[in-house]
């Protein structure tokens, strides 16, 4: 069969890939995005969810600071439903170097990052749980961002403009001829079947896996992977993002996210983006750092721990910008390394980079986007799309900063009580709760399944926050699995046409966007990939995933909860009878628990 012709294949369904799909689709390109897992399961879904004001970077990395400040304003406008504008506080404690605060305030002024010093007493009125002996406090415009909601907004907008996105599809091979990619082979990781597309351009937005994607085209992209571990509290001791006024280091921000708060991160270099664990020492360290900000911190209940990897691009010597070269030369150790032909990655900017593999590696139609931050994902996409559009001869400019996403009520950011307000609507047509902690209704679940079936409960969690509250799935897993089971049993016949694809919303009838001309036929209902076996996998997989995040913080009340949950799921429900060796699809590797 003839492979389908595309303008652009985007590899990687994180925040950047999704924003890029939107950007290019708005410019009129025919684009397909693929991710080997669910959207937002890599670095995008494994961080604080911090919408930076730029203040964190003003002292060391002015470029990043400026980009963050600008993008903070842009995202607050165009991606409001994914953002809680909490505001932020940088606080100087007696444990912080006293002179940093002066330099910090001056650097904010210099960089144009909004920052207002307030009395410590005022900071404590705003956030009474903070330690009472604050020396200084600065109000900034940090906020919280829900990465999965942001990705969904981008994908929905992209679909509206004709883009397509396929979860659980891995790029397994690239065919090159005469210095161009002429074909891409994609594998449906759930069915195992493969098919080909013929893209005019390929964009590598694979984050920590960017080196592997580039290698498929024979190009070398070197990344330094910094693992960051984070812990989740069962409450919001603060309602603003709180950061320490000291040079960026471990545990430097506490971010209120929906009903919980997240503290992180540690930073440990790792070598494999699929395999890393969280050490007890990291957890102990984070707990101690939490106590330095909020005295009651270690007495609180920690729900889980998770970790992600920051992919920091290590440029080749000939790619160093003059500014970077000067920065390295200014540091004795880095200068020495540079003289020997090596680059000290600790001295590099966190800013992103668009790599055009045409001039760089002789692959005319491959572009990589590397580095960067969640806050700047739209800007990264814009710069990448500019490069791609130029190569495709598209003259249309970027419009992603102008057009708000999220439909008619897209102008409003979310707030802590938004779920409760929805549930309290009179009549409550879909108010049967599946997840009480996060107020996820049966209607929420059914709407997600309508679009994404078949999917795992973990996919459902990213889409709805199912199981992300204090009980970590003890009650909702059972109910949600039953909903999946009803689809698998009673409604399998209607589900066979859909294959875990995002479909367009808003049109008179949903438009399926994953139909690929020579794609595999969906499996028959029954005890195959769609059927009770899927429910087993959903149930077992979700319980395992939740357990994985609880395990590093299993003490006190959370261990009690885990024991209770085991008593119910093993003792009463006998779930162990459904565990089949090797049957845990769609699960991250060891240590890669998510929020």
């Amino acid at each position: 069969m003839t492979p389908r012709v595309l303008d652009v294949l985007v590899v990687g369904g994180g925040a950047t890939g999704a924003a890029l799909l939107r950007d290019l689709s708005m410019r009129g390109a025919r684009c397909l995005l693929v991710d080997k897992g669910d959207f937002g399961t890599g670095t995008s879904g494994r961080n604080h969810g911090l919408l930076h004001s730029g203040a964190r970077y003003v002292v060391k990395d002015e470029i990043s600071a400026l980009q963050c400040a600008r993008e903070n304003a842009v995202l607050s406008r165009v991606a409001a439903p994914a953002i809680e504008p909490t505001g932020g506080l940088f606080v100087a404690t007696p444990d912080d170097p006293p002179d940093y605060a002066d330099g910090f305030a001056a650097a904010c002024a210099r960089a144009g990052v909004a920052c207002r010093e307030i009395e410590p007493a005022e900071a404590l009125r705003r956030e009474p749980a903070l330690r009472p002996d604050l020396r200084r406090a600065f109000a900034v415009s940090d906020g919280a961002i829900d990465p999965w909601a942001l990705i969904e907004l981008n994908l929905r907008s992209a679909v509206h403009y004709g883009g397509e996105a396929l979860a659980y599809h891995r790029l397994v091979g690239l065919q090159l001829a005469n210095g161009r990619i002429v074909g891409a082979e994609l594998a449906d990781v759930r069915s195992g079947s493969t098919f080909r597309v013929a893209p005019r351009m390929v964009v590598n937005a694979a984050g920590p896996w960017a080196g592997r994607v580039a290698a498929l085209a024979g190009a070398e992209v070197t990344l330094t992977l910094g693992k960051g571990a984070l812990i989740v509290l069962d409450r919001r001791p603060v309602d603003s993002v709180v950061a320490r006024c000291h040079p960026p280091s471990d545990g430097d921000a506490l971010v209120p996210v929906h009903t919980v708060a997240i503290l992180g991160t540690s930073s440990v270099t790792v070598h494999d983006p699929d395999r890393y664990a969280i050490s007890p020492a990291e957890i102990a360290h984070l707990m101690a750092l939490g106590d330095q900000l909020v005295p009651s911190f270690s007495a609180s209940r920690v729900l889980r721990a998770y970790a992600g990897v920051r992919p920091l691009y290590l440029p080749r010597l000939d790619e160093l910008q003059p500014r970077e070269r000067a920065g390295l030369a200014a540091d004795p150790a880095a200068a020495e390394a540079l003289a020997a032909g090596r680059i000290d990655s600790r001295r590099l900017t966190r800013a992103h980079r668009v790599l055009d593999h045409g001039p760089r590696d002789g692959i005319a139609n491959l572009v990589s986007i590397v580095g960067g931050k969640l806050t700047t994902c739209r800007l990264m996409a814009e710069e990448t799309a500019d490069t791609v559009a130029a190569k495709l001869g598209l003259g249309t400019p970027c419009r992603t900063a102008d057009e708000p996403m999220g439909g008619a009520d897209g102008g409003r950011p979310y707030w802590l009580g938004h779920r409760l307000a929805e549930r309290e609507v009179a009549g409550g047509g879909d108010a049967d709760l599946v997840c009480e902690c996060e107020l996820v209704s049966a209607g929420d679940i059914e709407r997600f399944l309508d679009e994404r079936w078949p999917c795992s409960l973990d996919d459902l969690r990213r889409g709805t926050r199912l199981g992300m509250g204090p009980c970590q799935g003890a009650f909702c897993t059972f109910r949600a699995a039953a909903r999946v089971g009803e689809r698998a049993g009673g409604r399998a016949a209607t589900a066979t046409g859909e294959r875990g694809l995002l479909v367009a919303a808003g049109g008179p009838s949903p438009v399926e966007i994953g139909r690929v001309a020579d794609g595999p036929e969906p499996p028959e209902p029954g005890d195959g990939p769609i059927g009770p076996a899927l429910v087993d996998a959903a149930l077992v997989g979700f319980l395992e995933e939740r357990f994985r995040g609880v395990r590093p913080v299993a003490w006190g009340r959370q261990l009690q909860e885990a024991w209770f949950e085991a008593g119910v799921y093993l003792g009463v429900l006998g779930v162990d009878a459904l565990v089949v060796d090797g049957q845990r699809p769609c699960l991250p590797e060891d240590g890669r628990a998510e929020l």
């Binding site: 059972f478 039953a482 009770p532 395992e544 357990f547 209770f564 085991a566 003792g571 009463v572 459904l578």
Partner: protein
């Protein structure tokens, strides 16, 4: 200050059994507990022991009793008497159980369409264990608007060989949904809401009619067994069961659900009724905080608190049946310690990095499950080198070290056997009750409204 012969802390199966056995033996007994225990989230059956490779509870108990350090090594001999005592109490409340140590573990369906091994079961679950005959089918009945039991998914799963692990299974499995009267507009119904609805005779009649009508078309040529979510009445469950027998005219059984567990609540209420009949003072909501001691340091009672006030209780013998981690009898700390919070007893536990296996479903269970209080053969707590750690106290139930109860399915048996043993040994030290009868003794005059405990 009230005083009694035997003071039991903990209202789980271990504490309930201890109190009942002590009262049956003629002691004055108080039972105090911070709150409800595992009965309220368990399945209501009695898991004696079903370690892999065993076919019956007796064999399972014998196997575990040979494992050095396992609680059954000490208490297995007390299980038959304890089990008989508990069965008598349940019978008296109209909650007859079936099966004993000689019964094979049948595999019975669960509410996620899996199966679990089960030996001793309440009457309403017992039909699930009968061998499946050739041609026999299973009909799973669900109730509309009830989110905790999805009959179609349960049936779809049970129609496969996988969940049955090689055990005999029904030839066909189907599901049917029943709309119960007056519930169409209800939201977030749980099992207790439905159980209380079934307790109401005026609602029950039409509801059972609707059920019978829905089941009828599924009767074909072969035999049919019918499964329901375990919500068929709480206080009036025997009447609901009898009415359902009459309506269906064939075998049926209940499948236990996620908490709140209706079968577990029935078990608890039946045991508490037996305790009250035996004049035990049962006080739930009394958090125990510390020991009362004699001048030479022996434990002579417990300091509890209720309604914000200290409430000390003096006792000749104290039995601690406060449970494991799930019930708060054991507490793990962030820095890797495992504590017994009431008396600060020495706890035997693995080092923290080895607490939990990487997989929730590790077939060997988690090392931390075995954590608990090590005792001598008289269930008195001992330290790491076997020295007596405390005087005047015995330990029963999940607080004991050495079991991986979840995987062994031994928790109820250990609770009953250790409760029976703790009571027997406590009675032996209690003035006036040196002999331990296996059944209730003639009740003496009541000391007051709280029973003879409050003297």
């Amino acid at each position: 200050m009230p005083s009694c012969d035997v003071l039991v802390a903990g209202a789980g199966l271990a504490g309930l059994t201890t109190a009942l056995a002590a009262a049956d033996g003629g002691a004055s007994v108080w039972l105090v507990a911070k709150g409800h225990a595992a009965t309220h989230w368990s399945h209501g059956g009695l898991d004696l022991a079903a370690p892999p490779g065993t076919v019956g509870g007796g064999e399972g108990v014998a196997l575990l009793a040979r494992r050095p350090g396992h609680p059954y090594e000490i208490v297995a001999e007390d299980l038959p008497a304890g089990l008989a005592r508990v069965r008598r109490a349940l019978d008296a409340a109209g909650l007859a159980y079936e099966g004993d140590l000689a019964s094979p573990h049948g595999r019975i369906p669960t509410a996620v369409g899996a199966t679990r091994p089960a030996g001793v079961l309440p009457g309403a679950q017992a039909a699930a264990r009968a061998p499946w005959r050739p041609g026999e089918g299973l009909l799973v009945v669900g109730f509309e608007r009830f989110r905790d039991f999805a009959a179609p998914a349960v049936a779809a799963s049970l129609a496969r060989p996988l969940p049955w692990a090689g055990a005999p299974r029904p030839e066909r499995v189907t599901a049917v949904g029943v709309t119960l009267p007056g519930l169409a507009e209800r939201r977030n119904l749980d099992g207790l809401d439905l159980a209380r609805a079934f307790d109401d005779p005026s609602w029950r009649g039409p509801a059972l009619d609707a059920i019978a009508r829905a089941v009828e078309p599924h009767r074909g040529d072969g035999e049919l067994r019918v499964a329901f979510p375990a919500v068929l009445g709480l206080a009036d469950h025997p009447a609901v069961a009898a009415a359902l027998d009459a309506r269906l005219g064939g075998p049926w059984f209940e499948i236990p659900l996620v908490p709140p567990s209706v079968p577990g609540l029935r078990l608890y209420e039946a045991m508490v009724a037996a305790l009250r009949a035996a004049r035990v003072a049962v006080q739930v909501g009394f958090a125990v905080s510390a020991a009362i001691r004699t001048p030479d340091g022996r434990v002579a009672g417990l300091a509890t608190a209720a309604a914000g006030r200290p409430f000390p209780i003096r006792a000749g013998q104290v039995v601690l049946a406060t449970g494991g981690f799930a019930s708060g009898g054991l507490v793990a700390t962030a820095d890797g310690r495992v504590e017994e919070p009431i008396l600060g007893l020495p706890v035997e536990a693995p080092p923290q990095p080895a607490w939990l296996a990487p997989s929730m479903f590790d077939p060997a269970g988690h090392p931390l499950e075995a954590a608990g209080i090590r005792t001598d053969r008289k269930l008195r707590p001992v330290g790491p080198t076997g020295e007596r750690a405390e005087r005047g106290v015995r330990i029963a139930g999940a607080l004991l070290a050495g079991a991986r109860a979840l995987r062994e399915r031994s928790g109820d048996g250990i609770a009953i056997a250790s409760g029976e043993r703790a009571a027997r040994l406590a009675l032996a030290r209690t003035v006036g009750a040196l002999a331990v009868p296996s059944g209730p003794v003639a009740a003496g005059p009541a000391a007051g409204p709280e029973g003879r405990g409050a003297r």
